[in-house]
Amino acid sequence: MRKSYVNNNIKVNQFDALIKITVEMSKYLYPYIREILKSKEDIKENSIIWNDFNKRFIELIKERFNADSMRVKKLLNQSENGEIIIKSLLILSFCISNKGHQKLKNFLYDF
């Protein structure tokens, strides 16, 4: 899915480290994640937050991902990407506790 043509498998300790970084980032960004989730609950009142987030998300995907891939095209489609984004945000928001890295790992293994 990424633009890179090199397919390197990451090692287990690298995977664990990435999980821990993601959880620490989610802890720090929880108030923002929460606001984005809340904005989608009542889209009429808080559409600005959701639209800004979605716009930036698409910009980053276009910049770093291979836009020719069908899966990436699905992420770029604003009418289809809502569910994926909401579920990803929910996973991050559920994993901000001290043992959040273990929880995030379990979610990813089951995904």
Binding site: Y30, R34, K40, D42, E83, I86, F94, I96, G100, F111
Partner: protein, 196 residues
């Protein structure tokens, strides 16, 4: 006796646990092992409170429901105490049934933000070294789809693994005889020694 009170907060949700330490277990004064009461406060929603035996099933309900929501399963949880159902991906319908007779069930609608706040409050409680929650024996109904899956896994292993091991051991045992003993070769040798 003065009871201990512990609070866990996450944005718009707070969970209060009231109880006593288990002195027979030599626990500290500020520990809570015997929970007498708990209160879950969600901003702009009615107060949820109950006895100790209700806390475990309600926490389990939230955890199971959140897992179903993420794993693309049908997000429905039903039990004697609590029903949680998704209106859509953003709004969740909670029905809390009272254990007392003639009390109408409490119906709440919460969004994803409040759901994640509640889950995080429960996580804080689970990870707190000051509170020890004993597992309750109250059974709850896992949705049919999930329950079917769990039973299937158990049955599969119980039914297929023992005969599989038996067949493997038979093959291994009999293959050793095939390798060391060949009666035809012996007969041929005897014929060569006594050619009559």
């Amino acid at each position: 006796m003065i009871q201990n009170k512990l609070s866990f907060h996450q944005s718009s949700v707070s969970l209060e646990i009231i109880g006593l330490p288990d002195y027979s277990n030599n626990e500290n004064k500020d520990q809570i092992s015997i929970i007498s009461q708990w209160k879950l406060t969600i901003v702009d929603k009615p107060l949820i409170e109950g006895k100790f035996e209700h806390l475990g099933p309600i926490m389990d309900a939230f955890y199971i429901y959140s897992n179903l929501l993420i794993k693309n399963e049908i997000p429905i949880y039903q039990s004697k105490l609590i029903d949680i159902k998704a209106d859509n991906l953003h709004i969740h319908n909670i029905v809390l049934k009272s254990s007392k007779a003639n009390v109408k069930p409490l119906v709440l609608k919460i969004g994803n933000s409040l759901l994640s706040d509640t889950i995080n409050c429960f996580d804080q409680l689970n990870e707190s070294p000051k509170v020890r929650i004993k597992k309750t024996d109250i059974t709850y109904n896992i949705p049919k789809k999930l329950r079917f899956g769990l039973n299937n896994k158990v049955k599969f292993f119980n039914v297929f693994i023992p005969p599989f091991i038996a067949i493997c051991s038979l093959i291994l045992f009999s293959s050793s005889f095939i390798y060391f003993y060949s009666p035809f070769e012996n007969i041929e040798k005897k014929e060569l020694i006594n050619p009559e």
